[in-house]
């Protein structure tokens, strides 16, 4: 992260999907006791693509994200990432050590509740630096520079780098999470309701940051949101979840303009 992010060209040529997907998950299933949180979810994300998940509360969106972040073991399913650490196998079979290394190097996550992703009493810079420490960086100056750089990318005010998240507003906490998530330029970025719970004006600012990031660093991103506006702004494709299943999926515009499944129709109309 010490090098400058490449300047965005105003008119990127359309990215042709030539290779295979970066992420391929099929048959994801997760139960908590008798509750089936995720029944059967299939999902593919191509490099640089942003995929949204919408659905009512309790439909299993966050659980999908936790599974993809390898935080919890799945009850069933196959999950592959096209990265060297993945070794072409099902990531659910990785041992703890390799799972941790893969998560550090390749997956960034932003949680809806900042305390899940941050050490609230360490400095904001330290929270970001920890990612690099985990990846083996042992130079203080480099950690400092990378933490500053990454926080700047997420448009975090430079003068607050040494303040702990506990003293920051919700919007700024989300920026620290984002800086931490992208500090090592992950292959996959998972965003769980990154703007929910923020003031509307702050929401818009965080959304702007995410849009800019998407332009400058095309990372394969999965974003969960209640807010169809957020999904419309960010996502190329969208999955609609209900009761642990994907009931509809397609291009964002298509799904949101012309929903086919009655549940999606309800969801979209409730918004309008």
């Amino acid at each position: 992260m010490t090098d400058q992010p490449p300047a965005a060209r105003p008119l990127d040529p359309p990215r042709l999907v030539t290779g295979g997907p970066l992420l391929r998950a099929s048959g994801l299933r997760k139960c908590y006791g008798s509750i089936v949180a995720v029944a059967a979810v299939d999902l593919e994300i191509y490099p640089g693509e942003t995929v949204g998940i919408v659905g009512e509360s309790g439909s299993g969106k966050s659980t999908v994200l936790r599974l993809l972040n390898l935080e919890e073991p799945a009850d069933a399913g196959d999950y592959r990432l096209a990265v060297p650490e993945g070794a072409g196998g099902n990531l659910f079979t990785l041992d703890r050590y390799h799972r941790r290394m893969l998560r550090v190097q390749r997956i960034g996550i932003v949680y809806q509740q900042p305390h899940l992703g941050l050490r609230m009493n360490a400095t904001s810079g330290g929270n970001v630096a920890e990612r690099l420490i985990m990846a083996g960086e042992r130079r203080f100056a480099a950690l400092r520079a990378a933490a500053r750089g990454s926080l700047a990318v997420s448009e975090f005010p430079a003068e607050r780098v040494d303040d702990p998240p506990a003293q920051l507003s919700g919007g700024m906490q989300q920026r620290v999470q984002l800086a931490k998530a992208i500090a090592l330029r992950p292959a996959l970025l998972l965003l769980d309701e990154p703007t929910t719970g923020l003031d509307v004006s702050i929401q818009a600012l965080v959304l702007d940051t995410l849009l800019r990031l998407r332009r400058e660093q095309p990372i394969a991103t999965l974003i969960v949101s209640h807010d169809l506006g957020v999904i419309r702004t960010l996502a190329d494709r969208v999955l609609v979840m209900r009761a642990g299943r994907v009931v509809e999926h397609g291009l964002t515009d298509q799904v949101l303009e012309d929903p086919q499944h009655p549940y999606t129709q309800q969801l979209v109309h409730a918004r309008l």
Partner: protein
């Protein structure tokens, strides 16, 4: 023939106080600890006629390895004559018949709390350090079963995060005693509450060090000639306490670890903390024949192994001290 003739003669205690099972178990644990440098081996800490927390871990290690031909030195914060050290020494001598000494160079076993002697330990000497808390991860992970998982995975990033935080907040590493070290490039280890001054003495040491915690029921070891590195950054280094400018009021010596003694009317004096060493310096000054061994730090404060310690007061690069 009576039953009494067939049975063992009756002993009030077995040799070295511990019964044979306890001794064998402890020795096995110690061997395991030596085989896995820096790894905390659980053991069944026995009852002793001394309360837990007063050096029972070190005492058990000493009792389990001492033999009648050993010579033992016991120190508490550098001093041979503190009540605690004297009690332990008397107990060990009574239970094992070992000779006792205050001279580091003559001892085969040195049991210590909070200090390593100033004179360099040699091959075949054994240093037993009493440990109050064996877990170096305690302040980043209070749950000890989680801490054990972190050890298993060598997941020590949080320790460097805490170094980072110390530099950002205070401009330097603020951890004093018990400065964490990485042993043999693998396990993070607490060297017991020895000052930072003593930490480098464990690195590539000629002697064996056994560290034992009686209350926490864990022991670990640093075999001879093993890498022991304090945690630090590649560009901001671990440093020992500054002894430059301190002169021992008793011997006039410099560049040894000094205790600071308040004097009446304010102000303070310094005195070498290693009393066995100080006593020899004093006797040598009086012209008595004493052998003083080579020390870890020489008369101008240089550590005996070059390249282990970095020059003091190296300025942390970049904005590390942005908050002063």
């Amino acid at each position: 023939m009576s039953l009494a003739d067939l049975a063992h003669p009756r002993y009030d205690y077995s040799y070295g106080f511990l019964d044979e099972h306890a001794r064998r178990e402890l020795r096995r644990r110690i061997l395991k600890a030596i085989a896995i440098p820096g790894y905390q081996v659980p053991y069944a800490s026995r009852e002793l006629p001394i309360a837990r927390g007063w050096g029972t871990g070190g005492l058990q290690a000493t009792l389990s390895v001492a033999g009648p031909h050993d010579t033992i030195k016991v120190i508490d914060q550098g001093a041979d004559d503190s009540v605690n050290a004297a009690n332990l020494r008397r107990f060990i001598a009574r239970m094992t018949g070992v000779a006792t000494t205050t001279d580091t160079t003559l001892a085969t076993i040195i049991q210590s709390r909070h200090r390593v002697p100033e004179e360099r330990l040699r091959e075949r000497q054994l240093l037993v350090l009493q440990v109050p808390d064996p877990e170096p991860l305690r302040h980043v992970q209070p749950d000890s079963s989680k801490a054990r998982e972190m050890h298993a995975e060598a997941d020590y990033a949080q320790m460097w995060l805490s170094l980072y935080e110390q530099l950002v907040r205070f401009g330097r590493f603020v951890q004093g005693a018990s400065y964490p070290v990485v042993v043999h490039g693998r396990y993070l280890m607490s060297p017991s509450p020895i000052p930072r001054w003593d930490t480098p003495t464990l690195h590539q040491a000629a002697h064996l060090t056994i560290l034992a915690a009686g209350r926490e029921k864990r022991l670990y070891a640093v075999p001879p000639y093993t890498e022991v590195r304090p945690i630090e950054f590649d560009d901001v280094f671990f440093q020992v306490e500054r002894m430059a400018g301190r002169v021992c009021a008793v011997s006039g010596a410099r560049h040894k670890f000094m205790d600071e003694l308040p004097v009446a009317g304010g102000g303070s004096l310094f005195r070498i903390s290693d009393t066995g060493y100080l006593e020899k310096l004093v006797r040598a000054a009086r012209g008595e024949p004493v052998t003083i061994g080579p020390t870890y730090y020489d008369a101008v404060g240089r550590f005996y192994q070059p390249g282990v310690l970095h020059e003091p007061d190296a300025v942390p690069p970049e904005g590390g001290t942005g908050h002063d």
